[in-house]
């Protein structure tokens, strides 16, 4: 049963991803990527990663979509048709994908409890975490205690994102200095031909 759901979800994901690639209305793209996240969340639940599913739903489907929509409100929602099929990206992608598929050939089979990943560090968390941290949710105990330092880094990452966003678009007014830096010298060293609005010289 779960295999059927699993495969169905993956198929939906593939369709959605493909639609994102083809769709040129960016509002639709935003909604599709939200759907993609929700499907992922469903898949994560199937794969026993409930915390991740919860987060993906809140962040991927929620916050990310709101951000993209907020951006589209500022920048417009039509994407141009790609000029011509680009071979180089296709080539790069095929190579990358090919290499990855090659890499999976020796990967331990999906879902097998004997996989090395499940044999080394994880068992200790499963066995000892309750005793050592008094927290039944192992994901929480690993997140906040065993690998708490990563989570501190993560907190810092979003703080960094905020700093970045504020630096870029904090003030309501548009940035004053968006033209060539050389403009201030009366254009003596004009580097870009892009004129200031009213043109000069």
């Amino acid at each position: 049963m779960s295999v059927v759901v699993d495969i169905a979800l993956l198929a939906f994901l593939a369709v959605t991803a493909f639609a994102v690639m083809k769709q040129r209305n960016l509002f639709a793209v935003a909604m599709l990527s939200g759907i993609y996240s929700l499907l992922c969340a469903a898949l994560y639940t199937m794969l026993d990663a409930v915390d991740v599913a919860f987060t993906e739903a809140a962040v991927g489907a929620g916050i990310s979509t709101v951000l993209v929509l907020g951006t589209l409100a500022l920048v417009g929602h039509k994407a141009k048709k790609p000029a011509r099929p680009r071979l180089l990206p296709l080539f790069v992608v095929l190579i990358t994908g090919g290499v990855m598929v090659y890499g999976t050939l020796d990967m331990p089979p999906f879902g097998n409890a004997d996989n090395p990943a499940h044999q080394h560090v994880a068992p200790r968390y499963i066995e000892k975490s309750e005793e050592e941290t008094d927290v039944p949710n192992i994901v929480t105990s690993v997140l906040a205690s065993y690998r708490g330092y990563d989570t501190m880094g993560e907190t810092n990452v979003i703080f960094t994102a905020l700093v970045g966003v504020l630096l870029l678009i904090a003030t309501g007014e548009q940035s004053r200095r968006i033209w060539s830096a050389d403009e201030r010298n009366g254009g003596v060293f004009e580097e870009s031909s892009e004129p200031v609005e009213d043109g000069h010289g």
Binding site: V50, D51, A53, F54, T55, A58, V59, G62, I63, V66, L67, G70, T71, A73, L74, V75, E131, E132, T133, D134, V135, P136, N137, V139, T140, S141, L143, A144, S145, G148, Y149, T151, M152, E154, T155, N156, I158, F159, A161, L162, V165, L166, I169, A170, G172, E173, Q174
Partner: protein, 141 residues
């Protein structure tokens, strides 16, 4: 003040529940899915909903940008500060065992403390980023 009255009333009723749910997610994180991060996002979602329905100005009146910015920064400091406290108590960085008399208790305190840090930061960051995007005027081509 017109046709969106249902939206307004509805969200006014909804928002407290969202906040409550966020708190549940935060404190239930030890036992079920959820934790500081998810709670922070939901907390922020409540205010974002408020801003969407009642306007950015109203939201900023309730929750001024300076407060959310401060939250974002303070959360990080709470997290790292927990580590520094454990250092000062003679343990390793983020070694919660030293926070209380027995190790498991200390862990509980420590995890609670850092999760709070995460909550505060995530809440602050999400709302602040929303403010930043929403507060930007559209560029005229």
């Amino acid at each position: 003040m017109d046709d969106r009255v249902i939206l307004r009333v509805g969200s006014k009723i909804l928002i407290p529940f969202i906040l409550l749910f966020a708190l549940y997610v935060q404190f239930h994180g030890d036992f079920g899915p959820g934790g500081g991060f998810q709670a922070g996002v939901i907390f922020a979602a409540a205010f974002i909903l408020y801003a969407l329905v009642f306007g950015l100005g109203a939201a900023k009146a309730v929750l001024p940008p300076i407060v959310v910015h401060t939250c974002a920064a303070v959360g990080v400091m709470i997290y790292a500060g927990t580590g520094v406290v454990t250092l000062l108590l003679g343990g390793k960085f983020l070694d919660y065992n030293v926070l209380a008399h027995n190790a498991a208790h200390g862990q509980e305190w420590g995890i609670f403390s850092v999760e709070t840090g995460v909550l505060v930061t995530v809440f602050g960051v999400m709302v602040a980023i929303f403010y930043a995007f929403a507060g930007r005027r559209r560029a005229e081509p």
